[in-house]
């Protein structure tokens, strides 16, 4: 039997298809994870996966088939085409893009796949012992994962792209307990293909433990409206949740009333506000970075807000085709079991002027919030939770308080940003969830920012 190369098999399967557009994505991946709970290693494992999918477009609907058995490629193309043809929905147009034939190797710093599990374990062990060694810490967890994958993409327009990427993620958290009261603190960090940061987290581990203990004696802030100053990490989560998701065109492309609200040229904030998303910015090698998205469209920089005015949004080929705009290379799939959907990459508020002190100086009574637990959005409303909060009194950052949740309405809250410092920093921890695809590697960031009249509730 002659064994065909994957490329030959894919090209053979795409030949003579009875559909307007067909694409095939094949993914070969390996991952490793380690988890400490307290001082003990609780979980360690390795996984490998090989799978693929076919996405087919008839005139008025998508057929999608995912599978693990690659020997059935041709049959799976026929199945996806059949599914597509049964559908009689809204007609679909894909924005034109040039076919791409390319190979994109992984961005690698210190390659995590070259480091033994035993060495990884020894490093994590140190952090577990640091946190558990802090007086008052009841439990801690250290979670580490890395994954390398090779994705092969081809479509009936002649694109053939092979891309590799390596993702590294890590979380440290500590729980302190006193008289039945439990408080937690944690930090999430990640990188695109570089293990180096994992080696140097002693200070972070100590800090997480100390913070959890300190929270036991912290006061709760009373719910209400406050002037808040956010650190770059939490401001990054804020812009991701409060605005980023609304700029994903798949939310609005089939909803005319939302298109009216999100008309390009609309003012969203003061002239100081500039927001960007892009798989190639603000620097190379971030977790949301890539050369080509999962439809084979080059990653690029997209200005979303310029001087407070809406100037762009994030597209797949389908949403760009429907709205008559330019594709932006934001169609991403978390793995081969999912079709690509419009996602953010690296999303950030561009730097303004000055420092955090300048933002705090004229706040009489407010709250300074740092780090994050997470955030969610339902387009209009969003919430995001900060891990540490401090009272601001008479222009100075004062006592530590219990964690708070901030909540608001996107159309009003962005207008209420009245200060943006110059200190842009990117947050690479965690991941983004949408349409059941979670956690997708993204990054977000911002300088310190100040928001007036922000609704806040104590935890």
């Amino acid at each position: 039997m002659i064994k065909l190369s994957l490329r030959d098999q894919i090209e053979d399967a795409l030949t003579g298809v009875d559909a307007r557009y067909v694409e095939i994505r094949v993914e070969d991946s390996e991952s490793r994870h380690l988890r400490y709970r307290g001082r003990e290693l609780e979980d360690v494992g390795r996984s490998s996966a090989l799978g693929g999918n076919v996405r087919a477009l008839a005139d008025a609907g998508w057929g999608f088939a995912s599978f693990n058995d690659l020997s059935q490629l041709k049959a799976k193309v026929a199945q996806a085409v059949h599914q597509a043809k049964v559908l009689h929905g809204e007609p679909i147009t894909l924005a034109d893009v040039d076919p791409v034939v390319a190979t994109a190797p992984a961005t690698v710093g210190e390659d995590p796949t070259k480091i033994s599990l035993a060495e990884k374990k020894n490093i994590l062990d140190r952090y577990a012992q640091i946190m558990m060694g802090a007086e008052g810490v009841q439990s801690s967890s250290v979670t580490y994962g890395d994954a390398n994958k090779r994705v092969t993409f081809a479509n009936t327009e002649g694109s053939f792209i092979e891309q590799e990427r390596i993702d590294v993620n890590m979380r440290l958290s500590a729980m302190a307990r006193k008289n039945g009261d439990v408080q937690q603190s944690g930090v999430s960090i990640g990188s695109l293909g570089d293990f180096a940061f994992v080696r140097e987290l002693d200070r972070e581990a100590q800090d997480v433990a100390d913070k959890a203990i300190a929270l036991l004696n912290a006061e709760q802030i009373e719910g209400g409206e406050y002037t808040v100053v956010l650190d770059p990490i939490l401001a990054g989560v804020f812009i991701h949740e409060a605005f980023g998701h609304l700029s994903e065109a798949d939310h609005i492309y089939s909803e005319p009333r939302l298109q009216e609200i999100m008309q390009l040229g609309r003012r969203f904030g003061g002239a100081l506000l500039n927001v960007v998303d892009g798989a190639t910015v603000p620097r190379e090698g971030l977790r949301g970075s890539y050369l080509y998205d999962d439809e084979g469209v080059p990653g690029q920089r997209t200005q979303l807000i310029k001087d407070g005015v809406l100037v762009g949004r994030l597209h797949s080929r389908e949403t760009a085709g429907k709205l008559g705009e330019r594709p932006t290379g934001n169609a991403r799939a978390i793995n081969y079991r999912f079709p690509p959907i419009v996602r953010m990459t690296n999303t950030y508020i561009e730097p303004g002027e000055g420092t955090v002190d300048d933002l705090v100086r004229d706040v009489k009574d407010g709250v300074y919030v740092k780090n994050w637990y997470g955030g969610m959005t339902s387009m209009e409303m969003f919430t995001f939770s900060g891990a540490e909060s401090y009272r601001i009194r008479n222009g100075e950052i004062a006592e530590l308080c219990r964690p708070v949740m901030l909540s608001g309405n996107v159309f009003r809250t962005l207008e209420n940003i009245d200060g943006i410092a110059a200190d842009l920093d990117m947050n690479q921890g965690g991941g983004c969830g949408k349409g059941g695809q979670s956690p997708l590697p993204v990054s977000n960031g911002s300088p310190h920012i100040r928001i007036q009249h922000c609704l806040l509730s104590g935890a």
Binding site: H33, R37, G38, E40, L41, E42, D43, V44, R46, S47, S48, A49, L50, G51, W62, G63, F64, A65, S66, F67, N68, D69, Q83, V86, L87, H88, G89, L117, A118, S139, M175, G180, D181, V182, Q183, G223, E225, S254, E255, I261, R337, P339, Y373, G374, G375, M376, M379, E380, M381, T383, S385, M405, G408, N409, F411, H453, L456, S457, G458, A459
Partner: protein, 439 residues
Amino acid sequence: MARATAEEILDKARRVADQAEVFFVESTSTPVHFEANRVKAADSHETMGAAVRLIKSGRVGFSSTSKMDDPDALIEAALDTAQFGPEARFAFPGPAQFPDVPVYDPSVDGTTLEGMIALGQEVVDAVRSHSDQVTVEGSVSASSGTITLLNTNGGHFRYSRSGFGLGFEGTVIRGEDMLFVFDGKNSISPMTDVSGIVASIIRQLDWAKESATLQTKSMPVVFMPTAVPSVIIGPLLSALNGKSAYQGTSPLVGRLGERIVDERFSLTDDATLPRIPSSRMSDDEGVASRRLPLVERGVARNFIYDLQTAGLAGAESTGSGERSLGSLPSPSASVLLVDEGDATLDELIAGIDEGLVVERLLGAGHGNILGGDFNANVLLGFKIEKGQITGRVKDTMVTGNAYRALSDLIAIGSEGRWLGGGLYTPAIACANVAVAAKA
């Protein structure tokens, strides 16, 4: 190349490890998606995979794969992790008597794409005939699969399950005001009646027709069944997890047998209920399923354990080891039941002079869940004034603690409903919950 069977993988693992277990899954699902009131996409997913857990020199090793033609690589990866894996505090269970828990209806496999499209369109059309201002999206999905477990101590099970689910969301946009209403239903059998989902979506649309505002203060709050998971169940389960108990982080450590909340509240985990999507005859480690009281008339009764956690804690597995293909089992509830009380929803609302009905929350999964805290934006909620719903509230947050909320009960509703395939709960009305509203 040939696909390895579970037996072949176990035979290879047996030769290199002291004990071994193979977990094997095969499944298919065929969701149909609706967008902007019309059918948009039809998917089919075929999944298979195997996981090996082994014990060598007293340590646990683990690996998983979807590459079914290379069992040697799978076992080698598990051995690699076993060099320094966690110390095994259990032995794989031998042959067990499993309860009879039917969760497979073969008629799901006869579901047609055309039939699922028609059913989904029926929901869309019914909601749109009530109000053409609504944009409807959602999905109809059929699935089936087989789970097999084999271990070197003679433990073994194999069962099939089927699933059929509908979930639909309606969106209404007026200017910058957005309203999202949702309902869904899951079964092990194909569904033909969509009236319940349609009625629920229409009720939410009607209640949200007018706008209302609340003041920042503590007030009576009725948590609808859809809000109970994030406010009540999530915090309780994190505290009832055997891992939190063993680690000493659970606020319920040392309190089994004690009253922790109002005696009208009872919570049971029961994976043996027939024909419920999340039910099963065995947990994912080969320990027979059982009915497990968690909170009985306000008294904490049991923590949830898998084999390893039970070994660490000096307890017995409660048949609660659940896993995905790529991870070791961990303690998890299966089918949760909150006992119904005696007040209808109408009675609960009628008894409140000024308060809030919470239908859906946003962001409730963050913060100090283990301590019982909840803190969330009210994505969909309604004001109660003099025993009547007067309209939708926005820019509103609720903050509280599950234990305090359940200790300060007004009443538990009498009309329970299933949420997904694994939780049955009525509405729960609490007397004093902190509500923050934007002025």
